[in-house]
């Protein structure tokens, strides 16, 4: 049985903000199925009572010194933006037309 269907891949692509094509869906569905069947082997390990590791360096609350350090200027921060206006990032519309 397939671990993942073409429909699921399409749904995940939407969640990931990827406007994938039909050809990509055809290609990815099979490839992702092979990958998922392989990585599912982690389930063979009996690990119910094992704590998870998110990070190899155990750290909590790393704080910097409370001093002012130079940061990017506004122009520098905007320098790589595809579009800007009035010293801000300009974005396409985020509200629907009727609003």
């Amino acid at each position: 049985m397939a671990a993942i269907s073409r429909e699921e891949v399409a749904h995940l692509a939407r969640l990931s903000r990827l406007a994938v094509t039909d050809q990509e869906l055809d290609r990815f569905a099979g490839q992702l199925d092979v990958i998922l069947q392989s990585v599912a082997r982690v389930g063979e390990v009996a690990a119910d009572d094992i704590p998870p590791t998110s990070h190899s360096v155990p750290l909590v609350n790393v704080l910097r010194e409370d001093v002012i350090v130079p940061g990017l200027t506004r122009d520098e921060a905007l320098s790589g933006a595809p579009d800007s206006a009035e010293d801000r990032f300009r974005v396409p519309q985020i509200l629907a037309d009727e609003e």
Partner: protein
């Protein structure tokens, strides 16, 4: 072709210090070499000719003024295109960042400049460092100088190929699952992954934040150690940076070069076995183990029962972190924007931009990661992979109670033909079988050339405990002192 390009970074540094040659001349001969061979190798995505010459002239004038400079001042270096370089294009080999010029330098880049190294340019890689062959670059593959029909490894194939082709004596790579060590192995060069947290990630474009580690690439162990020393050490701008002094890797490399390993305990991982391993790789590894014994090391077999689950765990953890990290490519703050016709919504423009800007492997990993993190699958995939990660770390900890270092072949097979594994992504993943456990644990590991299999280089991997980076340099330098370095056929 100038003889200068064949020199080690140490030798170049000595010649520069003795004023036998200027930094400008050293830089020029390397730029000339790039001009001569990079059309065939394609190690570089961007060559910063003017920036390099101007940095070299500055070093020359500081030296002329009597300033005391470091051992690598005036030595050229190539930088993987995933490291932010102020004002110099940084694309991560992706179309989504085409033409982006960062407004700041990565911390390791600042340290490289302060040490007087001269950046020649930015090297090719798999897009966002996801891959094992550099074939997933959006700008075309890099070709292995040993055989131009073969891959140079990945993701840092550009940095490794630049070294093997004598286009640069030093390079920077980044290692998330083997991207420094595997390219080193298949190009006959040295690649070291430092302890996670031992080198700063500030300004390294994030792929998998709990695994990404920048490190040195070179043609000799001592050169790698000198570059390691330049970039290592605590950085307050990286919250996972370890606030301890870096181990003295240069002294360790010099000690190792004496060729005496008396009293050193070396472990061979039993579970790695020989299944699916190219016979020539197995033979070269056996010879290397014999060499270690002759140098006085005590070699024993060590069991690491969970290493067989490292690859599956990694290919859940890394894509999960990638799916989150790459959300920043949203068509707003930097890079590409596609389909903004005044009518489409932000969400539509974002989806069209990411579709146009990312390549197949990046898309596959984003989708896998999104799947592994989604509710209903989280516990079975991402959560379980994190538990397996704990067990792999425990395997390392208990192994290092018995031995000082672990050794293995760096990769199960030598450089394969271009196109051989691109249609089956999982076959590509197998290139990282031996390198991935270290990343999950967080310790350091180095690949050093040990021989050839059917004319292609084989690497030995030396893995050490966290913050014992010096140990792996000692062992690698000792091996190098016996087997020597390997030179590809003339290009």
């Amino acid at each position: 072709m100038s003889d200068l390009i064949k020199l080690s970074a140490v030798a170049l540094g000595e010649k520069l210090a003795a004023k036998e040659v200027s930094a400008e001349e050293v830089t020029r001969v390397h730029l000339d070499r790039i001009g001569e061979v990079d059309g065939r190798v394609h190690a570089f995505l961007h060559v910063d000719t003017e920036g390099a010459l101007s940095a070299a002239r500055e070093i020359d004038s500081r030296r002329a003024a009597g300033e005391k400079l470091g051992p690598l001042a005036g030595v050229p270096i190539a930088i993987k295109d995933v490291i932010a370089t102020k004002g110099v294009p940084t694309t991560c080999a992706s179309k989504i960042l085409e033409g982006w010029r960062p407004p700041y330098d990565a911390t390791i880049m600042t340290r490289i400049r302060e040490a007087g190294l001269v950046m020649l340019g930015k090297t090719n890689m798999d897009e966002f460092a996801m891959g094992s062959s550099t074939e997933y670059s959006a700008y075309g593959p890099t070709y292995n100088p040993w055989d131009l029909s073969r891959i140079p490894g990945g993701s840092g194939g550009g940095s490794a190929a630049a070294l093997a082709a004598y286009e640069a004596p030093l390079a920077i790579g980044t290692d998330t699952g083997g991207s420094i060590r595997q390219p080193g192995a298949v190009t006959g060069t040295v690649g070291a992954k430092p302890t996670y947290g031992g080198t700063s990630r500030y300004g390294l474009v994030a792929f998998s934040s709990s695994l990404d580690t920048p490190g040195p690439c070179a043609r000799t162990v001592l050169d790698a150690a000198l570059l390691h020393e330049v970039i290592a050490g605590h950085d307050p701008r990286d919250s996972t940076s370890i606030a301890q002094p870096a181990p003295d890797v240069v002294a360790a490399a010099r000690l190792g070069a004496s060729g005496d390993l008396t009293g050193v305990r070396v472990g061979v991982v039993k579970e790695f076995g020989t299944d699916g391993v190219e016979p020539g790789v197995t033979a070269a590894f056996r010879d290397a183990v014999e060499t270690l014994t002759k140098l006085g090391a005590e070699v024993v077999e060590v069991s690491c029962p969970h290493f067989q689950y490292a690859l599956p765990a990694y290919y859940l953890i890394a894509p999960s972190e990638c799916s989150s990290n790459l959300a920043r490519f949203d068509s707003v703050r930097f890079g590409l924007r596609v389909g903004d016709d005044g009518n489409r919504s932000l969400e539509e423009v974002m989806s069209l931009t990411r579709e146009a800007g990312f390549g197949d492997e990046v898309k596959r990993r984003i989708i896998i990661g999104t799947y592994a993190l989604s509710s209903g699958y989280y516990d079975a995939y991402y959560g379980q992979a994190q538990k397996v990660r704990t067990l792999i770390s425990r395997d390392f900890t208990s192994a290092f109670e018995q031995v000082d270092v672990l050794v293995s072949a760096t990769t199960p097979f030598t450089a394969f033909e271009l196109g051989a594994r691109t249609s089956d992504p999982y076959q590509m993943y197998l290139a990282d079988l031996y390198t991935i456990p270290t990343n999950l644990y967080g310790g350091p590991a180095i690949s050093v050339p040990i021989g050839l299999s059917e004319g292609l280089p084989v690497g030995l991997q030396v893995m050490a405990p966290t913050m014992a980076d010096d140990r792996m340099y000692r062992i690698a330098a000792a091996v190098e002192s016996v087997v020597g370095t390997f030179t590809p056929p003339a290009l």
